[in-house]
Symmetry: C2
DNA sequence: CAAGTTATTATACACTTGAATAATAACGGC
DNA sequence: GCCGTTATTATTCAAGTGTATAATAACTTG
């Protein structure tokens, strides 16, 4: 984020032996910038548009630098994937308050920006499409999915208990699978074609659906 | 499907001026073979592994032929996308029988092979990831989604009427959005990590969820 | 402020890509 | 059975790919 206008900081160049001036980024910062640039490229240009040169250009550095921070382009992309999964799940896992509020917020967060936007779903889809190709990505997906579902299952367990209807782990598991599917499906379509839905409609549908699935009102 | 072993049909070659013998495919057949090979490549190697040469090899022809059937590689891929969408929606749209059976079959079909398999979801994701890049693909997706949801909405409308609980278009729309999301979400996860679920579990969860969402048993 | 370390640049390389071209083998009509 | 049409092959091309390497500018340490 610090000094990305490298493109404009070229000096005279071409005449003598001098080369472009540059900025030495602090520890770890350039790494994150490169990952961010990678994700920008993937979401805007597709996976095959995310070339080393294109990524470096966005990050305001030259292509060679990529190999100084990562063993290979593929490794950088795998690391970028972990970043995406984390950004999609972190926000939802940090909900706070009483069980009903936490459940409600969990659903709303996943259907609201920044989790729900076209960039996120593009990135998610790009990686999903590689799950069959690269087993490492498959493993990352699997962990992310299970962590997400487990978090949801915990929320449901607490919620049902608080409502005086404690449920077995098995029942909670089935509810978690269903609600996870519901939220994921609505998230995808909302991201891809948000204009097909009215403002707040998806959240409203999601809330009503969860209430129907659990057979309980979420609010007091 | 007819004569794919072109790789083995090379003749002497190399010595004189003769070239590889080949088979002139009937009208439209080669086109479909190329599309099929394209989809195979995308699902197994990813979008960027689906090169003209790789695709041609799978189809048992040489790379140049692609441009004889399609204006460009991109156009061929767009056409392949239409193929995928069609294969994902056709089976589900042709359900027959009484309203309850049609609804039940619709859900089951979407969560059973061949609709629900890792190849399908890979292809779907590969294209979804390009929706932001290529507006033509965005339009194809939009049409496919709406057709699918409209079909579901019709099924729901018939089902509710048959159960003596006719519902307005608006109510059916909301139910269709929710159930579509639910089925899509379960479909994705089932395709990606089917081993996380027991045999038939996803269908069982989907059926129970739809009953809860509609507030009605599906069976008699 | 000098010397050493290294993050960064510039350039080169071998290879792959989608596309264009010309030659030719396969087939349909007569 | 020959001939014209065209589907198919073989080859070429310029542009783009990830990676390797050497030079160098920026910072760190004394």
């Amino acid at each position: 984020m610090a000094c990305n206008d490298a493109a404009s900081s070229r000096q005279a160049w071409g005449a003598g032996v001098s080369r472009r001036s540059f900025h030495r980024a602090p520890e770890g910062e350039r790494r994150q910038e490169l990952i961010e640039a990678t994700l920008d490229c993937i979401s805007e240009l597709g996976l095959k548009g995310a070339t080393v040169r294109q990524i470096a250009m966005r990050a305001g550095v030259t292509a060679g630098l990529v190999r100084h921070y990562f063993d290979s382009k593929d490794q950088m992309i795998a690391e970028a994937y972990r970043n995406v999964i984390a950004s999609l799940t972190d926000k939802a896992k940090n909900v706070e308050g009483d069980p009903a509020t936490r459940l409600k917020d969990f659903i709303a967060i996943n259907l609201t920006e920044p989790v729900a936007d076209s960039r996120s779903v593009s990135l998610w889809a790009a990686f999903i499409s590689q799950v069959r190709v690269d087993p490492a990505l498959a493993e990352i997906h699997r962990e992310g999915y299970l962590a997400f579902r487990d978090a949801l299952q915990g929320l449901l367990s607490d919620f049902l208990a608080a409502k005086g209807r404690p449920a077995s782990a098995e029942v909670c598991r089935r509810h978690a699978i269903a609600i996870n599917g519901l939220v994921d499906g609505l998230w995808v379509e909302g991201c891809l074609a948000g204009d097909l839905f009215r403002e707040g409609e998806l959240i409203s549908i999601a809330m009503a659906s969860v209430e129907a699935l659990l057979g309980l009102p979420i609010e007091e």
